[in-house]
Symmetry: C2
Subunit: 243 residues, 2 copies
DNA sequence: CGGGTTCTAATTGTCTGGCATTTGAATCGC
DNA sequence: GCGATTCAAATGCCAGACAATTAGAACCCG
């Protein structure tokens, strides 16, 4: 692991990159302890604060964790799906909000990905997943629910559907796509009739999943996408006309 | 933006979190300049190195960029899909390598997601995407290609397919799933006959995409998944028997 | 008056040295 | 032997300073 002092890039970035490469390539294995900050400083011929900045960069990506005390130090983290999801969600949310992605594009992506999970979920979902879906449908039908709460329940419903596929890779990827849509969905006001339609389609999906019927799940999801797109279209059109 | 000195968490982590929240909530907008390190140190009542550690954490997530000089400082980054992809790929790769995800699970997720893009790609791909796919097929048929190069070309082919959908959200999400599979694919040795089968299926996919035929693209993709799974199964079985 | 040059101030990047805090382990007393 | 104490190692944090970079202001000269 070497760095180039004449490189215009920050030393801390170079050091972080070197350590990251070592982790990715397998040179450093999970739970292995890195040299102490003082030792790293000597190895790379930089000061301790510079090493610390590099370690903070890695900590921000959950690649390492630090522990104080006698046997403390920096340790290579086992990157778990649970730990990676919040980061994934944050990044996805910011990507949508900062890049003027249209509702249409985001919605299309989300439903396309969900349809990828639907047949698997219909085949493998546990009773738990199904119970979560039913519970969220019930919550959505409560009167007096705010639009935000309705959207949050919608997200929970769809995440249960995705998790039902029993594939952690899919759950991880979809978490970003599904959660990132929430701020966009929150821009929509749902009338009672809109909610009733959505709840009916959710029920169709839950029924199809319960029956293990992949194709019906797919068509219900597609109907829900159409419904959502139409709803968003009319809401945005009305808003544009009013202003 | 406030921090709690008695909080057991690192001050730099708290500060980074406070600034991150400000960015997510819209309190700080794209390209806005943050206060200088000295000013932030005063605001949060910490030292400059601590502020710097916080800023490095944010820089590691591409949330800010820094610039030296008179009008320099830290600026809120516009998180672009291009900038986010390498991070997404790194994380996905580590998730697979560190969590003993089976080839089967990863492969299933990848092809499920790809199938989500396939109909869209068949409908919208530009001549560029098609040309890339054909070029990669051609490369794959070159004799003397190493297994690594073959896999890399395979990834490029599939990324072109995904990008053909013309949906940046999908491309972003899929980049992680497709690229992360490469290390797993590299564990497989491809015989000439294996390659010929894969190339034939790639050609089927390219033909279907060129014809704008979504269903055929789907079935070709499914055939490719089956082929890949069978291949991996036999390779791993042979390896297990030998040892 | 215009254009190029120099100067200056602001800001980040880095270093030195130090102290505080935490925490496991060794040591000592019983 | 066992518990309490001490110790040492490591991270967390701070103060101050200097170097490097950069944009703009001031200045000089034709």
């Amino acid at each position: 692991m070497k760095i180039d002092p004449s490189n215009p890039a920050d030393l801390s970035a170079q050091i972080a990159g070197a350590i990251r490469d070592a982790i990715i390539s397998g040179g450093l294995i999970v739970d292995e302890r890195l040299p102490s900050e003082a030792e790293l400083a000597e190895q790379f011929d930089v000061s301790r604060p510079t090493v610390r900045e590099a370690l903070k960069r890695l900590a921000a990506q959950s690649l390492i964790r630090t522990q104080r005390g006698a046997t403390g130090g920096a340790f290579v983290n086992r990157l778990s799906f649970e730990a990676a999801q919040p980061q994934q969600i944050t990044t996805s949310t910011l990507l949508l909000s900062m890049n003027a992605v249209s509702f249409e594009t985001a919605c299309e992506a989300r439903y396309a990905l969900e349809r990828a999970c639907a047949p698997l979920s219909a085949a493998r979902r546990t009773p738990d997943h199904l119970a979560t879906m039913r519970a969220e449908i019930h919550r959505q039908s409560q009167p007096g629910l705010t639009d935000e709460a309705f959207c949050a329940s919608d997200v929970a419903f769809h995440r249960a559907l995705v998790d039902g596929a029993g594939n952690p890779v899919l759950s991880y990827q979809l978490a970003g796509a599904v959660e990132a849509m929430q701020p966009l969905m929150n821009m929509i006001t749902f009338t009672a009739r809109d909610r009733a339609r959505i709840i009916a389609l959710h029920t169709d999906i839950a029924d199809a999943v319960e029956a293990g019927d992949g194709p019906t799940t797919l068509s219900a999801l597609t109907a829900l996408e159409t419904e959502t797109q139409d709803l968003a279209h009319s809401v945005f059109a009305a808003r544009a006309a009013r202003s």
